[in-house]
Symmetry: C4
Subunit: 276 residues, 4 copies
């Protein structure tokens, strides 16, 4: 790829760069795949450590493994800083921060003990997995998906707003209907239930009992069942669209009755007949 | 926007209008965003008030907050009435009514106590959230979604009718099969279960036990799993369609055997050979 | 509509026909809507009758209502037979049978008592609801959906076969893995669980406990979550397709290695190089 | 079909071949359909045998049935080997192996007893059902679906990677948030819960209790509810695409800030302004 034609850069750095940052050379691909496995194994170690039975037996080994990987990733991180032309730009990019955070926690864990807090840090370490995407994107498909989602991000935001509104209102209604009982002990609780229901997850830890409540729930379920068509439709249409661009509409509101959804060529408000 | 070129209207009202009702000017956008936050906070206050632990401690503060917001929204409502050229048209428009209802309840809550009833009123106040849409629509995407749904509303209605029929019949069958036991105590109950199942929510508060019941349930689940494709397909096709128009068919029924689904160019009934 | 230009038919029958069977005349539409309400009410009566608390009080009234509606539908059925030119063809058409079955049960219920059996008959009466479709189809959209589903029925069948196979195999595996415990008491039971899981219904009445079982379940869930894309894609593509026709492929199998999926223009098997 | 014009092959083998391997002749179709039923019945026998109540009574009969079918399939397998021109190629093809595995287990079951182990083998026997596809593919639609899935396999892989990452991170977070209680006893457990939730299965065997946990769960649910749009969109777009080819993009990464998603015609990095 004609990505860096700087005569200034020495050859070894270009080579190192293409190995560490790219994966269209055999060496580069090998590097990425090894890294991928290292990430997965280190994450696996963290997971297993959380299982008490396993931790009781292999605890020390697992912690040792963590340290080995931490060192490996530390070296890798330094290498990236050396190879890239503008280390700061890289260090402040998302990937740079992720790379950094995937090393720090273990180091910190030396200073302060306190398992509970340590656990929180461990979760960050899982962010390493995100680097898998760099492989995925080279296939170019990941990028395709991301582009489609980006292109329809406004539609999706509007959709989510609508869903949240629906969930808040029905949640509150249910709190009133079920009279604060059967698990509907507060509005937030009821909203949680509404989300569980609308998304068709349906744990069953909270479920309506009264007739009115079940009727309301049924409506919510059918809504959730039908509404799913909206995000699906958005993304499908986006991906089927030849160009990546999505249709947007200049929007006119009647300054009298606030009516929207006028035809582009409309001269007068369709509701109150006012001149637009 | 060239939405109202009335030389008659005084400048200040036009300016106030563009701030309060529109959001394509910096001032207008700021106004809408502040309003949005006010709505969210006031809704949050209502929610928290419903949580007993919180209400016990911060009850008075929360009620105070509610009052502050009520006053703010009252002023806002009056301002809208003043600014708009035709107050009545606005007051009777959906947004006008929502604006009104978002103020009234707190006022009423002075006259009559009775928490239970109060709660019902509170839910109405949540309708404020709907105003968020006014922001969303400016992006023009909300409008796009609404148009797509409008265009396919008949298809969706037909789909929902089919789903309801299916749910009623299978619900009744389950009531018979499970012999009014295992939670299937009545046909409405069984229909509630059928909805919970078809929409793939699956609380598990009611679930079949008999072999025949589980077989029937399995069929219903697979149906629900496959049927979801219909609304999705409808909306996807609608959104992918270049023009917003959806295909509709003039429908001919054979006046002898009631057969439908004839080809547009059909001369004779495909079932009984009768001339159409 | 130019549906029956038989000079032979007397005018009154044509008029009656257009009222009873069609709904593009005001009278016809009114007839259908009234009929629709009658059906809904009669179904409602059956449902309420199944609720013990209600039945205890209003039982007699509900049974009376049922009888009134039965008589009404009986008259309607006879009217249809009289008006249609070929009564037999109508009587043997799906709608004719449904109309018939929606009357008979109540009559039979006189002869033989035995609530349990009666209930089974009642369910048939619900089939009346299907007549709603006749209204729906006039919008022409119902027909559109049905056509899309018909066009992709083979694809859907193949999909369902794949799903059933998957469910049977994973169900059996789970039975082995969970060692016939935790509700996985037999292969059919486990298959029932697999369906509940794959369709993302997830009652929770049966759920895996062993580590291997939960791993297998996770795979099944993600499969079910991704597989839903197939029917959806099929129907979406079908509905988006300009013509109602779906692409089908003449299929060649290599008679040596049984390889399929050859390009239409392929001369040799892509796997074993054999002449096709 | 003009699939093998070898004058060398004797007529009887061609005829036998077209009966056993193809289904476009009446005889061939009959053979396949009979085989299909045989497979289903034999699978049914295995299933019923696992039900204790049935096994107690009909155990011997069922085992006899299994033996009959095993012999039938053994004969069929030998016939296939004889008829095909290159037996080895067939024997090593997927279908060949499946055919083989569907016979062996019962034979082995003679040598070594031990029900537990036997059961594992039985599951393999279910693979026979896969042969149903051979019928399905002749319709050509199965092939269409498979092709669409193949074409979008990279997109689906990227999607699954994203889902797994999400599930691992949120699962770990939940383990931290719920403090290893309420069923969230370890990170793997919590990941299992995350999968159950993201896929909207929602057993309810594990469900969050803390406020923070339920908030996190709600986010995960809404994500899972919206994310489903991605695989659906991918497959829909793929199936709607006139040619079977899917768009892929040559991918450029800024060698300074690692920014991706550059326009194809981009000359400079959109984030750090570096020349690409």
């Amino acid at each position: 790829m004609e990505a860096r034609p700087q005569p200034t850069t020495p050859g070894w750095r270009l080579r190192a760069y293409s190995i560490i940052f790219e994966s269209d050379t055999p060496a580069g691909r090998a590097f990425d795949i090894i890294l991928l496995w290292a990430i997965l194994l280190s994450v696996l170690a963290v997971m297993l450590e959380s299982v008490q039975r396993i931790n009781a037996v292999y605890g020390p080994i697992l912690r040792a493994v963590e340290w080995v990987f931490t060192v490996i990733f530390l070296i890798e991180y330094v290498a990236r800083l050396v190879v890239v032309r503008r280390p700061l730009t890289y260090a402040l990019s998302l990937l740079g921060i992720v790379d950094f955070l995937s090393v720090v926690p273990t180091l910190i864990s030396l200073a302060l003990a306190g398992s509970q807090y340590l656990l929180v840090i461990r979760t960050l370490r899982l962010l390493r997995v995100f680097r898998i995407f760099k492989l995925g994107q080279f296939v170019g498909e990941g990028e395709f998906i991301v582009r489609a989602l980006k292109a329809s991000r406004f539609k999706i935001m509007v959709f989510l707003t609508a869903v949240l509104t629906l969930v808040i209102i029905i949640g509150t209604l249910m709190y009133v209907v079920e009279g604060g009982q059967n698990g509907f002990t507060s509005i937030p609780q009821s909203i949680y239930w509404a989300i569980v229901t609308l998304t068709t997850v349906g744990y069953g830890d909270i479920s309506p009992v009264t007739v009115l409540g079940r009727t309301l729930a049924s409506i919510l379920m059918i809504l959730g069942y039908a509404i799913i068509a909206v995000p699906t439709g958005i993304v499908s249409a986006q991906m089927a669209a030849p160009s990546g661009t999505s249709p947007t509409y200049k929007q006119v509101i009647c300054h009298v009755c606030q009516a929207t959804d006028h035809k582009p060529e409309a001269e007068y408000c369709w509701r109150c007949g006012e001149k637009l």
